[in-house]
């Protein structure tokens, strides 16, 4: 454990920064789970709630950012404190983006709730969101515990989300080719999958920031870039 600051109000401010990030992180987790749930059930009311809840996450971002800027001005933080404040700003901005991506999933529910969702596809989507959510939860724990091992595990785990995304992408294309009437639904689902994949990327950013916060260095492993879909073509013989 680090020693406490001589100025106790400084110590309190740093602690409050941490607790706000924990709260914001909790809200974000809930929001993603609800958005996905609304998608599976075609639940418009719940989707609308998600859209409203996202505003709370945005408020948290502003609040944390403002506190961080005030602390920089008043305390002129150094070393670990400087890293904590910089990292807080970065993590909140990643969480805010994750919230937006959740909101985007909820908005799509409003367009596709009447359509019947192919079971097998939704199964793949579900395992992708489970993974994205558990990654998000783990990285928030890693932050709270200042646990670099956990952060590294999350960082490495993103590959798996990418792999699911790649296979979902193929699957969705197949559905669209089978019957052009599926194109509307599948395009929305494709965006939802892409959103989950992006959530994974933001989670990875947070993992990198936890590593930097604790050790003052960047993760220096090469991460295999997992989203191959930019190079994927439709092959009729597939």
């Amino acid at each position: 454990m680090t020693t406490e600051h001589i100025v106790s109000s400084y110590e309190d401010e740093l602690a409050s920064l941490d607790s706000k990030i924990a709260q914001m992180g909790g809200l974000t987790e809930t929001l993603i789970a609800q958005a996905f749930d609304a998608l599976c059930k075609g639940d418009v009311a719940s989707a609308n709630n998600v859209i409203l809840d996202d505003a709370k996450i945005d408020e948290f971002e502003l609040e944390i950012e403002e506190q961080a800027v005030t602390m920089i001005a008043r305390r002129q933080p150094m070393a670990l404190d400087l890293r904590q404040i910089m990292v807080a700003i970065k993590i909140t901005s990643d969480l805010e983006r994750i919230g937006d991506l959740g909101k985007n999933i909820a908005k799509r529910v409003l367009s596709i709730h009447t359509e019947i969702q192919p079971n097998q596809l939704m199964h793949g989507m579900k395992s992708m969101q489970d993974l994205a959510l558990s990654q998000l939860k783990d990285v928030l724990d890693a932050y709270a515990e200042r646990n670099t091992e956990k952060a590294l595990a999350v960082w490495r785990g993103d590959e798996e989300i990418d792999a699911i995304y790649n296979s979902l992408f193929r699957e969705l294309l197949t559905y669209m080719m089978e019957d052009p009437r599926n194109i509307g639904l599948c395009t929305h689902l494709l965006f939802c999958a892409k959103n989950l994949e992006r959530i994974g990327d933001h989670t990875t950013n947070i993992a990198e920031n936890v590593h930097y916060l604790v050790l003052g260095t960047n993760i220096n492993e090469a991460r295999p870039k997992g989203d191959n879909t930019s190079r994927m073509l439709i092959n009729q013989d597939d």
Binding site: T3, I6, Q76, M78, L80
Partner: protein
């Protein structure tokens, strides 16, 4: 319009540039500099009491090295070893070696007066002599016989004042008393006085602690300009000042160097817990 910074080097850091090299800050040194001052196992005793314990430190030339640490940790004591100012304290005893340009400065055959001419010193409180501005600067060159006639001396005085950024403010009152200047001007006068003997090294012991933020910024700007020609060692109690002006930082604690390294690294990612606790305000 936003007024320009007193400290010029701050402006490019804030500007948007695509070229990283352009945005290079004063704290980033392109290449390794050669060592100007080497200390090996330096110990200092005041009578029975030991104040410094085996200091090993290499100070690179034409750069600013800051010494930080809590009160009484030995920063001033170490600084005074470099120009042998400790010699004048009766009870003070120095062991170990300090070399400048590879030459042992405690070598008995060395001329201490000549050594002090090569090493300028600026103190916490500006301490101009109770003489005219002109004589304050001319004093050193006169006793060291650096000039041979009045014209040469005039030129040296003018140049020193220009380098210290004071010329325009005092050129019309050179015969006025040095003590009649403002605190910030007096400190620049002392820097001009230190420069006048054409030193290679300038030692500064908390040179800004009696100055307001603008006068401080002016001195910091000056330090930044001087470092291309001089090796500067500065003791400061302001972490921000150390972070702003120096390229390397040494952290002293209880008479020992706990950590020494690149300033940016010391202030963003110190390796030693004591350093971290000190610079973040966790112990005094």
């Amino acid at each position: 319009m936003v007024a320009t910074h007193v400290v010029e080097s701050k402006a490019p850091m804030l500007e948007q540039t695509n070229d990283l090299a352009e945005a290079e800050t004063t704290n980033v040194e392109p290449a390794e500099k050669s060592t100007k001052i080497t200390s090996e196992d330096v110990c200092v005793y005041y009578g029975e009491k030991q104040a410094l314990f085996g200091i090993d430190l290499e100070i690179p030339e034409n750069s600013v090295t800051s010494l930080i640490g809590p009160s009484g940790c030995g920063k001033s004591t170490y600084l005074r070893c470099i120009n042998r100012m400790n010699d004048v304290i009766d009870i003070c005893r120095v062991t170990g070696t300090i070399k400048i340009d590879g030459k042992d400065i405690y070598d008995p055959s060395l001329d201490v007066v000549e050594l002090r001419a090569r090493i300028g010193m600026v103190f916490q409180k500006p301490n101009p002599f109770p003489k005219s501005i002109y004589d304050n600067i001319a004093y050193g060159p006169r006793i060291h016989g650096l000039t041979s006639n009045k014209a040469e001396l005039d030129e040296l005085v003018e140049n020193s004042l220009i380098k210290a950024g004071l010329w325009n403010e005092v050129k019309d009152r050179l015969s006025g008393p040095g003590t009649g200047l403002s605190g910030g001007q007096q400190q620049r006068l002392c820097i001009a006085r230190a420069i006048a003997t054409k030193p290679e090294v300038i030692l500064m012991d908390e040179p800004c602690s009696a100055l307001d933020p603008i006068a401080t910024a002016t001195i910091e700007e000056l330090i930044d300009e001087l470092r291309s020609n001089y090796t500067i060692v500065i003791v400061t109690h302001s972490m921000q000042q150390a972070a702003r002006v120096s390229q390397r930082t040494a952290f002293f604690h209880l008479g020992k160097i706990i950590e020494e390294g690149e300033t940016t690294q010391i202030f963003t990612n110190p390796q030693n817990e004591k350093t971290q606790d000190y610079i973040t305000g966790r112990f005094g």
